[in-house]
Subunit: 499 residues, 2 copies
């Protein structure tokens, strides 16, 4: 009897890993479909591309929701497992739970509605009028509330959606953290605005051909230990990263405005580095992934902001931009210019100080929308009012206002807060790096990143998705997510620039 | 009772089309994987890419070989079907038969062996020594003989492999056609060699930047009615086409030698045009495909050779190349230079007259290898001897000899003859076009292709895979595959150049 049970366990385990590999590969193909869509697919390919996505998603569903896997999981739960196996088992259970209770008919309805709502949003953007998008947007809010109920009927609807992007986080904690951030950022922004330096206009102008932009980006990627062996650099109007496998990662740059291209390439390269250094012993399982959207964002921001917008870095790296830059006298003016603080109505062009205010505004609105306390018909007014409150700006029109991002069109509620969490994680992790590696500042000046990468690999990258983002950050830094460190970082950096 | 049977038929039909759509989409994803591999994939992506391919192939197998589809097919066979439905049913049956009798373990072994044999072939090429590839090559021949037995145990092994590329063709007919071709081509080559013009060396030199090459190719694609809406032009060292769907086709050019790039782009564009004009009412079925490798090749050669290397075309189009061309006085010298006949040891750089001799040599050898009358250990000697006989050339080494193409490394026996069949089909179809469209010559001079495209769409493209290539060619031209027309075409064209 004991022997028979042991064999069954072994089979169950084998089956679990077989399914994990299949699901990993199907998701990897999905990643390629997305990268291709953003970089190479001809326009008329949309029809067949949405069919590709539908069939792959259907296959993933089939692989994860069936009696055989269910039986294997329950057999394994009653047995004794190694630590590795129990980590995988737990993650698979979550993966299954996430889709198991959602009726196939709902999934179909949602994906159809997403196409419609996205196109209505586009149309509204074109005509600069949110009311065109409103009917489909309202329906999308309702559908997402319904989906939240399938995910976890016992929690607040918004929390259950948030959990898709940032496991273990909830809106109560976020609301607390964000309230604090909002207050501190307002204070800092006020101080900056009162400074003398704030009134100075920047006349910096950087001009580079596409070829020069590419050369400088590739040079930097090499310094990060990223070669074309594993990472392909493509072009797309909105930069993004697709992870096909640990040895095949695609990043893009827009190659338009040179500094924008450069910083976004650093950002995407940060995602790539994380994906390249996931725990190899968990390859082809759900653990072989970034821990959360927020931590993935944080790992990108370490390269884009903590390193890429730092004084230490530009002190020496300015030389690479000097001949293409006009309107500044030296690296310090260059550094001050790339770190200019200005209230702007647009999130993606916001600086480090104001960025989180844009995100918090979105979080508050989407939380209330999904929880049912804000009506879709009132979201425009609420947006404009909050913009005035947090940033002192009233959007001139809807394009400059709530139509600027299209996350909501396809119902991606719960995504926005991960951008601010990424800021918080990046500052917190980077401060610990600076403590643990005394030469960090000099290393950055010398564009010598091996120790930093080693640290990140040991403490973050190699943990994969084996725990929540916050538990990984806590192990790495000794603290839970802590917005104070981010505020301290900003105050030190920006009150030096804006004296 | 009758009503119950009717319902069952309806369900069976619905299921048949559902599976067809799924298989079409999975194959379409396979096409994308290949295109990506050839154009964008970083080197280290090979590992995960072969896993992607394995999982997609496995899924296709699952979709096609199962009891439910079997039951649906047998229900449909006993009922009354529309013409469209019976065409699809017949094609599906063939599709299923092709994989049904091949054990999964064999498929796995074959694909593993292909990787090994390809890498041995590469190594042999590098070291310029076929004997390095011989052991794995011999094993590959054995495996393909075994596979042929699974496909159709009653026919000659080679015929059963050939049928994968050119349905309905057999080696007896091919041997007959090719014997005739070989003789006639030898005679023609002899006449050309004796002509005075043959001794004249060409000093033509065409220089173009990558940008200029791209511009001229895109200009020509537009004239063919091919826009970037549906067709993406990428770059790869060996040009190829991947069909993702009728609205998403990927072609590549090498952008190295300008004329080579141009002609190969015309060739790939010919494939694209076929794929763009398949029968829409058969979309998402196996009928929505080119009829065979040979006919697909023929449709590409119409653009590359029949139009692209014609006098009518260059008379007017030379102007597009003139400023980049040195060493010729006028369009006629340009035309003569691009149609230069020379025996060369290398297939891919062969001219229209000698090209088929390269192919016939490969056909004869692979036929005998697969049928067991030629031992792999003797294939090098046989190759070199035939090269002497057919082309008057003894390869200096293996790289210039049988290692130049790698089709055999992965066991693609039966593929080569489709290149020569393509030549035969292209000349035969093009003569009929010239008969049916009196203005064809002038149209080509004016780069005005709409009538030609209309003809090709009506007679070839829109037939899809609804019959064998030869039956489609017969309907279009009134004749079965007929090498005489190709010979007549060559004699007329080349004896004018080589007087």
């Amino acid at each position: 009897m004991i022997r028979a049970a042991a064999i069954r366990m072994e089979d169950a385990l084998k089956y679990l890993y077989k399914v994990q590999k299949e699901v990993y590969l199907l998701q990897s193909i999905e990643g390629l479909l997305e990268w291709d869509e953003g970089t190479n697919m001809p326009k008329a390919g949309y029809g067949s591309r949405s069919e590709h996505q539908r069939i792959i998603q259907g296959l993933i569903q089939e692989k994860l929701v069936n009696r055989k896997l269910e039986a294997a999981i329950s057999a394994l739960k009653s047995g004794k497992l190694s630590k590795r196996d129990s980590i995988v088992l737990e993650a698979v259970e979550k993966q299954v739970r996430r889709i198991k209770y959602i009726p196939v008919s709902f999934v179909r309805q949602l994906s159809k509605r997403q196409v419609i709502a996205k196109s209505a949003w586009k149309e509204a953007y074109k005509k600069n009028d949110f009311s065109i998008a409103l009917p489909d947007f309202s329906r999308m809010v309702e559908l997402k509330r319904q989906q939240a109920g399938y995910f976890s009927p016992e929690s607040m609807p918004y929390d259950s959606l948030l959990n898709e992007y940032e496991e273990g986080m909830n809106s109560e904690r976020l609301s607390g953290m964000f309230r604090q951030l909002k207050e501190e950022l307002s204070v800092l922004l006020g101080e900056i605005r009162k400074s003398q330096a704030y009134s100075k206009e920047s006349r910096m102008d950087v001009k580079m051909s596409r070829k020069e932009q590419k050369a400088i980006i590739i040079d930097f990627l090499r310094r990060m230990g990223i070669s074309s062996e594993k990472v392909k650099l493509g072009a797309s109007s909105h930069p993004f990263t697709s992870v096909i496998s640990g040895s095949d990662i695609r990043i893009t740059a827009s190659f338009k405005e040179p500094l924008e291209s450069f910083f976004s390439a650093l950002h995407e390269a940060g995602h790539a580095l994380y994906a390249m250094n996931l725990p190899q012993n968990y390859n082809y399982t759900v653990i072989y992934n970034a821990a959360s959207y927020g931590l993935d964002e944080g790992m990108a921001l370490i390269w884009e902001n903590m390193i890429g917008r730092s004084k230490e870095f530009w002190k020496s790296y300015y030389i690479a931009f000097r001949k293409n830059t006009k309107g500044v006298q030296n690296w310090k003016e260059f550094y001050e210019s790339i770190n200019r603080v200005r209230s702007s109505p647009v999130r993606i062009s916001a600086d480090e100080v104001t960025y989180c205010l844009h995100v918090i505004l979105r979080f508050e609105l989407e939380r209330d929308l999904v929880n049912g306390t804000l009506k879709p018909a009132h979201v425009r007014d609420a947006w404009n009012q909050k913009m005035g409150e947090y940033l002192g700006i009233i959007p001139k029109n809807d394009r400059e206002g709530l139509l600027q991002d299209d996350h909501w069109a396809s119902g991606e509620f719960g995504y926005f807060p991960t951008y601010a969490l990424g800021m918080v994680y990046s500052a917190q992790v980077f401060r610990k790096i600076a403590e643990d590696i005394p030469s960090a500042g000099e290393d950055i000046s010398a564009q010598e990143f091996s120790k930093v990468i080693e640290w990140l690999t040991a403490k973050i990258y190699s943990k994969g998705n084996s725990g929540t983002a916050e538990s990984i950050v806590r192990s790495a830094t000794g603290l839970p997510a802590n917005p104070n460190i981010f505020i301290e970082y900003l105050r030190k950096k920006y009150l030096e620039i804006y004296r």
